[in-house]
Subunit: 268 residues, 6 copies
């Protein structure tokens, strides 16, 4: 009846505003040019799907170490598309789902997307969606097989779909045969230069004054977090998410913030 | 009752027009003689099934690397047969099916085919149908066993059946004992000559003028995609499907198309 | 009630005429003395079961490479017995059965046989009945265990049973502990002499004249399919089933039949 | 109600006459002193259970190669006990049972036995009861665990129980931890002397005259089935069951019996 | 209702007299000082639980080779405690239970014990409770996990619990992580001195006179069952349970008892 | 209805007083500065969650050898937070739960916590929650995957959550991919200095006089439990929980307490 139809229509042509907001709560800090490059590439793919008739389906993969910002960047690209249908498929909403329930939930989002002329689906954290664990190499083959098909299945006539997937375990995806289903891949690197780190410190105003921030930076340099002469090698390898967490811990002891920051980074 | 009987009859003697169209949306580009050879061989098998009484069952395998065009070619041969019963068994329509549901769906198509005097069944992407994953060598033995029997089971008296299967993983099929059930095999190769590639570029009109296309070809030759003196070895190894996708990406930046094409090919 | 009893009785004392016909549609070509020897041995076992009181159960195994004619020979022996109960247990009729359903179906045939004074049961293609796959050495242990017992279980008093099983994977049967349940084994070899092959060509009348057949034979000899001086070694190793299939393909191009036959045999 | 109670009582205090008869249809041929020794030992265990209060439970294992006569000997000992409760637990009656159904059936027999003052239970063919297969070392752990407990569980006060188990795979029983649950073990050897074989031939009257039997024996001796000078080594190793089967095959060709017998023995 | 409540209360505050009697039917023979030491240690733990407020839970393990008397000793300690709640958890009462049923039954006993101010629970034969089999190292992880928690879970306020577990497979318990949950362990050794053996023989009156017993002992000594000069090494290693069984077999042939005893011990 | 709502609300905004009390029944003995450091760090995390808006979720891990006091310390930190929602997730309350029931129970606690502005959840004994066993590396992947998500899932807007997890098997957590979900880790060491041990002895008043305690300490020193000259190496490695248990055993024999203590420590 009508009410059911309405319900059916609602998720099919909708934007899951709230969920997207949730994952980009802390905003995007432009600590490096790579951040802008990724966002710009995303924009190009959004345009390709909108315009090319030969490729009604484009699927891309954002990969990089844990906490490097994949989900936030993927959600940002999706939201900027302004397509009528934008959906996030996230393990956060599937805790305790059985294999079959996961497959059903994932398939539903894709089927809904096929009803909109233009859609973008963010498939977040593939390793969690497939219940991957390195010990014994266990995973849900049911979810994997569903993804293998859905990531490559052409939408029906006159429908177009952009798929943005994220993962911290690209080598595993390759072993699982998932890599070759993507049209393109983009790496989201960890922060590895002192300059990027300083940029973040300034943005989040950990230190009350510029002087104190510069002092902290010098302390970090002395601790070996600067690059060597070649300007390349550096001990620093930290995802933006973990960095923001460490900064907040340091903030608990204002008098001692620089020291706590340094020792936390050394403890990684 | 009558309505049910009708429904029963309908799929049994029908051609799944729409599904076949879907997989050959982009048409067949005749970039190499091998394309025509495959189509001609297919025609011969179609004739054999129609005429020979001793072989009421013929099953063939189209194999080749991902995206080389197996499904499109298989569907084209099937459609050209003009048999009264033509059906596509595709993983795309079975997302989230349980093992048992897959077996049932597959078996139904075969049972339906046995009701038509002349039938062709395309069994697309065997590795997906059996839920194959290289990690741990997992797969659905239930679906595999059903295929092992169905691919070799003679249709009932006065019924004839052509089976066209596709796969990107021929070595696995051999390991699974599937290879020897086929009467014949045909390899669908990737595009590996610059000439074929240029042929495709011309067909899809990536470049506005012949001159620009020739310039692009020279750029590719310089990047090492031409064959060596022996005319054999070449870096180029790309399925037609992926090539068409790369071309559409390049089309997004018209001023830079040749360069993007080259670097995309190099990134494979 | 009576109707049910009738139905119960019918399969118990019946001959599955149609199924047996189906598997020997193409008849038996006597291309070699081994064919007659197998049929004669079968006859002797039929007599033993009929006459000896000490061996109310005799079970034999027909094994040989794929397509060598095991099923056709087994069915021929069974049919020639003229016992009141003759049944074929075949994977062809069990597509999509669960383990339990297979066990039930197999057990039913044996239980039915125990009601007839004289019975023959053909257990066709054991590897398929047990869902065997070489990858991971998977199989249905439930079906295997049922067979292990049923192949060795004495029928009740005053009942006699001949079991004829077929398999292409005798070594596997040994590994599974199945071999030692058989009272006797017979090997069905592939065709390996040019003389046998010529015999078959004559029977199926691939060539319009004797001269053309002889020419073809010479072509095959030149291609290396004749035996060497010792009269033993030969490249030729082909099951009668595959040979008949190749012949029909060759028949599609009458002008070119000899050549196609030769190249098909070389491609094996 | 009463009828149910009756049924309950019947198996509890009953002797499964028919089943025991079935497995010793061909009688016991006393081809060697070992046959009598086994039967006499069995008698002693029967007496121990009847008389000793300290050992209300005695469990013994009859083991030996396939067809050596374990089941027939076990059943003979059981039947000779003349205990009020004698039961055979045999895989022949459990074809297609699930693990749980097997456990239930086995447990029921033991529970029934606990109601009789004196009971003997024959647990036939342990490897088949536990669904053992060497490939992948699969077996039903549920049935195994039930046996591990039941073979060692003391019957209730004033109840006594003799357990006679049979198996062809004693090493496996040891690996499974089953061996140490038995109070005693007896080996049932295959026939390995020409004298025993001749004894059997005489008993079953394969040859119409003594002369012909002696001729056959000489033929077997020449074929190498006699013992060497030390009187020990011999090629002959055959279970009485298989021997009886081979004899019946030979009986089919009366004029050729000796030869067929010899070649069948050589073919093992 | 009231009846249910009654039933609930009954097992909660009760002593399973009968079951305990059943496992110590043959009494305790004090063949060595170690027997008394074990019983005295048990007494001390009984007192600790009764008196110390800091350790409301004490769990101990009795381990030793099969048949060394673990169950009888554990039950004896439990019975001597005179606690209001004494329960035996034994595989003998759980034949054919599913994993889940075992967990439920075990948990119920513990939950019942928590209602009594003072309780002792005997957890007999852990390897059988967890369905352990060495082949493939299979076991019920569900039961194991339940035990891992229950053996270490503090009873509620004002409740005290002594747990006595038994096992023949201490190394396996360690591998499973179970060992470290026990507060203390005691080893129940096999009989390994001729003196202990003679003590048992006297107690059970195998021989009608002292002279005959001494003769038998000398025969055993000559067979090598005495200790060597160092008084340490000895071939003798036998659990009291098996020894009692062997003695009863020997008793069947009174004239030959010493010899049968000796050969039985040598056959181990 | 209202009653249901009440029930729903109750656990959502409540402190599980009783359960927390249960695990810290024996109080905290400040035998070493590390004890205070851990408690102080805990306090800081409690403050961070209360105050920082950028980190609404903080998760920490307390790890150390069995019985080192992890649960008691975690519960103490939680209780001291005085947050409106404090909950303990403990295997003790999930004996016999199926995988799915565990996931449901765990998820419920987290979902309840999301309704409170400030919450702390103690996830006790992760290895037991996931049914970990070293043999065969078995564990519940369903529970693991739920934890992997829940430990990193941001609470909804305006909700804050502190997670305190405990484990004795940190290396396993790393292998399972769980380690990197924690914002911080703290090690709870075993007691390894004689000084700490003496501190505990004094607190629990094992000895009636100071002199006797000092004598006992000297005895322990002579047994090798003191540190070597470097003041570092020591044989002593014992969790506070086991130490308290050993002390209570020693208390059973007041005259012999020092000796029993020493030998118990040596027997570890
Ligand atoms: N340049 C940036 N790129 C991405 N995230 C950023 C950036 N600057 C700030 N952030 C913030 O950092 C956090 C990145 O976390 P996010 O969950 O996206 O990382 P992730 O790589 O998906 O982590 P995980 O591997 O755990 O899935 C977000 O809170 C985001 O708002
Ligand atoms: N000569 C050709 N042969 C096959 N496909 C062609 C050819 N020319 C153009 N195409 C187009 O290329 C695409 C080939 O994709 P197709 O799905 O058939 O490849 P595939 O090998 O089945 O891929 P996969 O390995 O993913 O199953 C189709 O869109 C088809 O229309
Ligand atoms: N001498 C022969 N022996 C057996 N089959 C023959 C012979 N001559 C002709 N045929 C025909 O050859 C075919 C043999 O096929 P059949 O299915 O019996 O082989 P198979 O060994 O059972 O094959 P598979 O290994 O696939 O089970 C049948 O169609 C049969 O009619
Ligand atoms: N001395 C004998 N001992 C045992 N069986 C004998 C003897 N003489 C004749 N027989 C006959 O030989 C056959 C032995 O078969 P039986 O099934 O008992 O062997 P088995 O060792 O149990 O075989 P399997 O290993 O297949 O279980 C029976 O038919 C029995 O009547
Ligand atoms: N000193 C003793 N200690 C233990 N049991 C004794 C002793 N003396 C006599 N017995 C008797 O010996 C038998 C010991 O058997 P019990 O079942 O207790 O051994 P167990 O070690 O538990 O065996 P299993 O390894 O099979 O579980 C009992 O019948 C008991 O009555
Ligand atoms: N300083 C201390 N730290 C922790 N616990 C202490 C301390 N002093 C005394 N205790 C007591 O020691 C016991 C510690 O046991 P607890 O269960 O917390 O250890 P655990 O490390 O969690 O053990 P498990 O590894 O078995 O989980 C508790 O009874 C606690 O009251
Ligand atoms: Mg992410
Ligand atoms: Mg395809
Ligand atoms: Mg066959
Ligand atoms: Mg037997
Ligand atoms: Mg015991
Ligand atoms: Mg703990």
């Amino acid at each position: 009846d009508f009410m059911e139809a309405l319900e059916e229509v609602h998720p099919a042509f909708g934007v899951s505003e709230e969920e997207l907001q949730q994952v980009i709560q802390n905003g995007i800090i432009h600590y490096d040019t790579v951040v802008d490059e990724i966002l710009r590439s995303g924009e190009l793919f959004v345009e390709q799907v909108r315009s090319s008739t030969r490729t009604p389906l484009v699927s891309i993969l954002l990969h990089g170490p844990p906490g490097s910002g994949k989900t936030a960047l993927g959600a940002t690209i999706a939201q900027a598309s302004q397509y009528p249908f934008i959906k996030l498929i996230s393990p956060d909403n599937m805790v305790g789902y059985s294999e079959q329930q996961k497959v059903t939930a994932i398939t539903k989002v894709f089927n809904d997307s096929y009803k909109s002329p233009l859609s973008v689906v963010v498939v977040d954290n593939i390793e969690r969606l497939i219940d991957w664990t390195p010990m014994g190499a266990r995973f849900s083959n049911a979810v994997l097989q569903a993804l293998l098909v859905l990531l490559g299945k052409r939408p029906p006539k006159d429908r177009r779909l952009l798929i943005i997937a994220t993962s911290s375990l690209r080598p595993i995806l390759t072993d699982l045969g998932l890599s070759e289903t993507f049209d393109s891949e983009m790496r989201v690197p960890p922060i590895s230069s002192l300059r990027s780190l300083e940029y973040v410190l300034r943005e989040v105003e950990l230190f009350p004054s510029d002087q104190e921030r510069r002092d902290a930076t010098r302390m970090l340099e002395e601790a070996g977090f600067g690059s060597d002469r070649s300007g390349l090698n550096t001990k620093l390898q930290i995802g933006i998410k973990k960095l923001l967490s460490i900064i907040e811990m340091a903030r608990q002891e204002p008098d001692n913030a620089a020291q706590r920051l340094t020792s936390a980074l050394m403890g990684l």
